[in-house]
Symmetry: C2
Subunit: 228 residues, 2 copies
């Protein structure tokens, strides 16, 4: 009984890793679509999000089925519930990548990113790819020390997000209101993407150690609920 | 055994109603703080969010405890899992109200909302209050027809959100870049707030009827994942 349970839990974990791979690919392609004003690429990102949503539904069905059949208690129960929360985070990350792609599509054939911000947005795209790749490795390896280190990665994203605001509000913005609105939203999408990746990796720490700073609590300053 | 289970489920439902009351109060006060540049009020909203977070933690602990002790299956199991998802939506709505209050605090003693947009933002605040109040009633009364009607409410918020963009991008914006950035973010916070309220009410439909458009799926165009 126990073995079957943990085998199924491993399958759920594999699916979470696969979801992280798909969201990483989505955010990478969305960034390119945005910077290159590539309509085909933007549309492929928008379309591919359904596969991530579908994977989340399957994962949650498996988890609920596992709860019903195996009736886990204590740590095992919390593991299954936590896996469902991770799938929600990853699905949302896919949505955010799709949002970035939608901005690219909306402004096609223009690129809405002014030349002075291209480097920063490129870096935000890289930071997003890196953080979700690391989150995937952390899930796969149940790697607590890497999960702790991931928070530094989020600091990098926050710093880039601040750069965007400094640029917008520094008094030299000459790209117009529409670009300001787009850049504000895109900046937030990247930041939220990274927040959810941190949330995923925090949940791995919880799964492995059973410890959360406060039981069941989100960590102030890191969790998606504390993103400004 | 069954009766104890449903009694406890009722207690969870009561807590969800209370959370909806608190988030409604938060978004109402945040709107006033934003429009009146009221620092004290803004800070009280920011501070009060911890109570909502705490309530979510308690609710989730109760739910997990219930799963462990009662080992529900089938519909009962899905009810508990769904309640946890609703608490996550409501907690996030509290966060969004806090974000609005933070914009008010950041710009104090100024109000960042230009006179030409005050009416629209006032209406967005009212729409947010109304939709969460309705979501609370829907949870309390397990009212499926009201849940279906709630989607109209979200259309109202979407229309207001479009008004904000039309105002920003109509070529007559003279309130500067900072106000444009603030208004873009604030508009998104209200929109997301309403999205999560719709999600809560959708979950009530699911709880009562056991039917989701696609089992376990979010509904395209309505769920928080499809907010643009």
């Amino acid at each position: 009984m126990r073995d079957a349970f943990h085998e199924e839990l491993d399958q759920i974990s594999d699916k979470l890793v696969e979801m992280s791979r798909l969201t990483g690919s989505a955010v990478s392609r969305a960034t390119t679509a945005l910077l290159d004003a590539d309509l085909t690429l933007a549309e492929s990102v928008i379309e591919a999000d359904e596969a991530i949503d579908q994977m989340r539904r399957e994962l949650d069905d498996t988890a609920i089925d596992l709860l019903a059949r195996q009736q886990p208690v204590a740590t095992d129960l919390r593991m299954v519930v936590t896996a469902m929360r991770m799938s929600a985070d990853l699905e949302r990350m896919g949505d955010l990548a799709r949002h970035i792609a939608k901005v690219a599509r909306l402004r096609y054939p223009d690129s809405t990113i002014p030349p002075t911000l291209r480097a920063t947005i490129t870096e935000m795209g890289h930071a997003a790819e890196k953080i979700v790749a690391q989150a995937g490795s952390i899930i796969a390896g149940k790697d607590v020390s890497a999960a702790v280190a991931l928070e530094t990665q989020d600091d990098e994203m926050d710093a880039l997000h601040r750069q965007v605001f400094e640029h917008l509000l520094g008094g030299h913005w000459d790209a117009g209101i529409q670009a300001a609105v787009d850049v504000t939203l895109v900046g937030r999408y990247y930041e939220r993407f990274a927040d959810h990746a941190v949330s995923v990796s925090r949940r791995v720490i919880y799964l492995v150690t059973g410890e959360w700073a406060q039981d069941g609590a989100e960590i102030p300053g890191i969790d998606p609920g504390d993103d400004d």
